[in-house]
Amino acid sequence: MVHIDFTINGQQKALDIPADITALELIRSLLGLKGTKEGCGIGECGACTINVNGRAINSCLMLAAQLDGTKVLTVEGLATENSLAPVQEKFMENHGVQCGFCTPGVLMSSHALLAENPDPNDEEISKAIAGNLCRCTGYKQIFVSVREAARLTQQKGEGGND
């Protein structure tokens, strides 16, 4: 067992966990946050993408123990009490969601991108989400959604809330 202290979606956690579980297992099974999905377990689909210290990473490839001392953000932490995050709002408005299974991962990759680069061009968007596979949308409406979210982010003057 190993002891870790970290924050997730703004909440402090202190846990004793098995040494070899993944961050994904920690988030889904121990913390009961089911928004982050397992699509392949080996970092090839991006459905498990979360933000750790502001960076998008595949939670299936990180040891839960490596979350010690970090700030973690999952899809459940994007919205505030009063409003959705720009990426969430714009994905809804621009039909960027079909079956919804890749969506949390895409949102987290997009959110990390906009926090770092509020005005990305298409090439930059592509680099940010190429690791998020979608089988439903063909990505077009996803790009529209991210572009619109960038516009909204700039308007709001926000950088992100991780």
Binding site: V2, P18, A19, D20, I21, T22, G41, I42, G43, E44, G46, T49, R55, A56, I57, N58, C60, L61, M62, L63, A65, Q66, D68, S109, S126, K127, A128, I129, A130, G131, N132, L133
Partner: protein
């Protein structure tokens, strides 16, 4: 779930001390992108997981005169955005551009990529082209290992269980033409079928004064391509010459690997990629 123990040493010394005593029973984890996949498919028959991802001694990209050092713990994302590498090891920087995905680049390390010893490791061609030496340490000593010696065979590094890869020491290249390209089955998130790094310098007469080639995903372990480099040095590049050299390069590959079924594609494709990567240097 096993009884495996997780150890996170605070500095390199602590890590090396631990490995000296427990190396045989330990799996080292840095970015985790290879380790975690192995754990899922094979399980882990070790007692310890040693997390070296936060060791400061393994970080940093520095230029000191004629030595460009890249810490083994530097992530592919850091390589992707490094200004120093842009000026002095562009091929290495470019090898990060289509490396897996952003999520993986954010945690995968260059040390992990090299130590994993996959024939398709994308950082290897540029490291080869830069005549890189890897600094390898155990509790008692450090030694320099060339890229050609890093892997004993595919997926088996030369590192002993007591050792850690600390940093890579590259010869910096300033003026000249540098590039890295890969061929994959799709444009992102693809294992390389073939990858290649080059660095070329020309003299005042337009003849090649310096040429280094790194070839990836074509040999079981990293190999130098000195014969082809020698063939082209001192010559003026033409398309026909590049084509001929590409043929030699492909031939070198076949000599090393034997004629496998993948050679039907790789033999012409190596020649093709070599043309694609060097062709901008014709008449320039």
């Amino acid at each position: 779930m096993t009884d495996i123990e997780y150890i996170r040493p605070l500095d390199l010394k602590e890590a090396l001390d631990f490995l000296w005593d427990n190396g045989e029973d330990t799996r080292i984890i840095a970015g985790g992108t290879d380790v975690m996949v192995d754990i899922r498919s094979e399980g882990l028959d070790k007692k310890y997981l040693l997390d070296i991802s936060r060791l400061d001694e393994l970080k940093g990209i520095e230029l000191n005169g004629q030595e460009l050092s890249v810490g083994a713990g530097v992530t592919l994302s850091e390589i992707y955005s490094s200004r120093i590498l842009e000026s002095h090891a562009l091929a290495l920087k470019k090898s990060a551009f289509s490396f897996a995905s952003r999520q993986i680049r954010n945690i995968a390390t260059i040390g992990g990529n090299v130590a994993h010893s996959s024939p398709c490791g994308d950082t290897v061609p540029a490291l080869l082209a830069h005549g890189t030496k890897a600094l390898v340490a155990d509790k008692k000593e450090t030694r320099l290992v060339s890229m050609e010696e890093m892997a004993t065979k595919a997926y088996m590094s030369c590192l002993s269980p007591k050792q850690i890869l600390v940093k890579f020491i590259l010869t910096p290249y300033g003026d000249g033409f540098a590039d890295f390209q890969k061929i994959g089955r799709r444009r992102e998130l693809a294992v390389s079928r073939i990858s290649m790094a080059v660095f070329v310098k020309k003299d005042k007469e337009g003849k090649i004064s310096f040429l280094k080639i790194g070839l990836g995903a074509c040999t079981p372990t990293p190999c130098n391509m000195e014969a082809v480099e020698a063939f082209l040095t001192g010559k003026v590049l033409t398309r026909e010459l590049i084509w001929e050299a590409g043929g030699l390069l492909a031939g070198n590959m076949i000599e090393i690997t034997g004629r496998r079924s993948s050679a039907i594609y790789k033999e012409p494709a190596v020649q093709g990629l070599f043309m694609r990567i060097l062709y901008p240097m014709v008449n320039v």
